[in-house]
């Protein structure tokens, strides 16, 4: 089933169940966001993808990432009012992630150079949060894509954080690094040195398996996870890449 509606006056088509943000981007409209990735479920945490939706004469400003497309709606991706709201949201996010270059650049685009708000991370309990904006991309990737559920939100309100259960080295983590890759503020950290894979923020360290030429491939745990999921032969990763 397909749905027809308009974005900034241009007619677009989308499949039922699609969200407004992805449809707009596919059609070349720019909407900023920090917590969205097309591979995982929408979450509506960063509030940057705000758009104005006119549905049967009723206008409202809402997040486009978790707004399902509907026949006949009118979407406006930018207006002075939307701009004002995004600037406010960016000021709040900037307070959470003052050191993040991506956030700084995005804020500058909306005329925000400095945040008026205090950084909640001066609080002892929040210290290790760094530039984390609690967008939930790492937890969603870990559960929906990698399917190991090594990460989760904990606490709530100003004590909300993200990490492993019991805040220890996550036992189910395969150190794949997907969380570090998807993080919009680069606050997780990932490295490979001397045959050891490290995901810094969760304190996960795993030794890497070597192929027949003695080159490190990936952590043993990760290879095991891959082999089980795809059904590969046991010695698959022992062979050099060219001879697999």
């Amino acid at each position: 089933m397909s749905v027809t509606f308009s974005i900034n006056g241009v007619k677009v088509e989308a499949a039922t169940g699609d969200n407004v943000l992805d449809t707009a981007r596919t059609n070349g409209f720019e909407i900023p966001s920090l917590c969205h990735h097309e591979a995982v479920s929408p979450y509506g945490a960063c509030r940057l993808c705000l758009v104005e939706i006119n549905k049967g004469g009723r206008k409202k400003i809402t997040t486009s990432c978790n707004y399902e497309v509907l026949d006949g709606i009118d979407v406006k991706t930018d207006s002075p009012e939307i701009h004002k709201h995004r600037a406010m949201v960016l000021e709040l996010i900037l307070a959470e992630a003052p050191k993040s270059e991506q956030v700084q650049a995005l804020a500058a685009q909306y005329g925000v150079k400095q945040s008026r708000f205090a950084n909640a991370k001066n609080d002892e309990a929040q210290k290790d949060r760094d530039n984390c904006i609690l967008c939930g991309l790492c937890t969603r990737v870990c559960s929906e894509i990698v399917e190991v559920n090594a990460l989760t939100f904990n606490g709530r309100g100003d004590k909300r954080g993200v990490g492993s259960p019991y805040l220890e080295q996550p036992q189910t983590c395969i150190a794949c690094g997907a969380c570090a890759w998807v993080c919009p503020t680069d606050c997780i950290g990932f490295s490979e040195e001397d045959g050891v894979r490290k995901v810094h923020r969760w304190g996960r360290e795993l030794p890497m398996a070597k192929d027949e030429n003695g080159r490190p491939v990936a952590p043993v745990f990760q290879l095991h996870h891959f082999k089980k999921r795809v059904g590969l032969p046991d010695d698959f990763f022992k062979k050099a890449p060219g001879s697999r």
Partner: protein, 162 residues
């Protein structure tokens, strides 16, 4: 903690993942807190990621991950109680029980808790001990109350040994 008691609770809900919250509440009712082994067991039995159990346990204020005392002393710190000297009541409790607010005595008998308002402002300052509301409390009366409870719990323990 006896694992078969935990298992009995889980079985009562037919190991349904949707009953996670209810199971956690029942376990807490029984153990007075959520022991880590119990959370691991629930996750394993319901085939729910431990991350999810941990997330829920830390989200709700009513779940406790540390052992708690048999007797819970809750001091209301709402505005009305605060201006009538609730801080002094907390200090009195801390002195009498030799623990800080939010902590539990070593013998697992008492826990001091602060709460932001229980909606009985006319009775302030208010202390709730084991669910019983004690209004217009003074540190003197509170001291006597704690002494009585300490005596009673010591007697109970001695009785239990015989």
């Amino acid at each position: 903690m006896e694992m078969n008691k935990i298992d009995a609770i889980i079985d009562r809900y037919n190991k349904a993942p949707s009953a996670l919250l209810a199971i956690m509440q029942d376990v807490q009712d029984q153990e007075r807190y959520l022991p880590r082994e119990a959370m691991d067991r629930i996750a394993q039995q319901l085939s729910v990621p431990i991350a999810r159990v941990y997330q829920m346990a830390t989200f709700f204020e009513s779940f406790h991950l540390e052992p708690r005392g048999k007797h819970i002393c809750t001091v209301c710190m709402g505005t009305a109680c605060h201006v009538r000297g609730a801080t002094r009541l907390v200090e009195a409790l801390e002195r009498d029980l030799e623990i800080a607010s939010g902590e539990t005595t070593k013998d697992l008998q008492f826990t001091i808790e602060e709460v932001n308002c229980v909606g009985a402002c006319a009775l302030g300052p208010l202390v709730i001990i084991d669910g019983e509301y004690h209004g217009t409390m003074t540190s003197g009366r509170l001291g006597k109350l704690v002494k009585k409870m300490k005596k009673a719990s010591a007697k109970e323990d001695a009785g239990g040994d015989n």
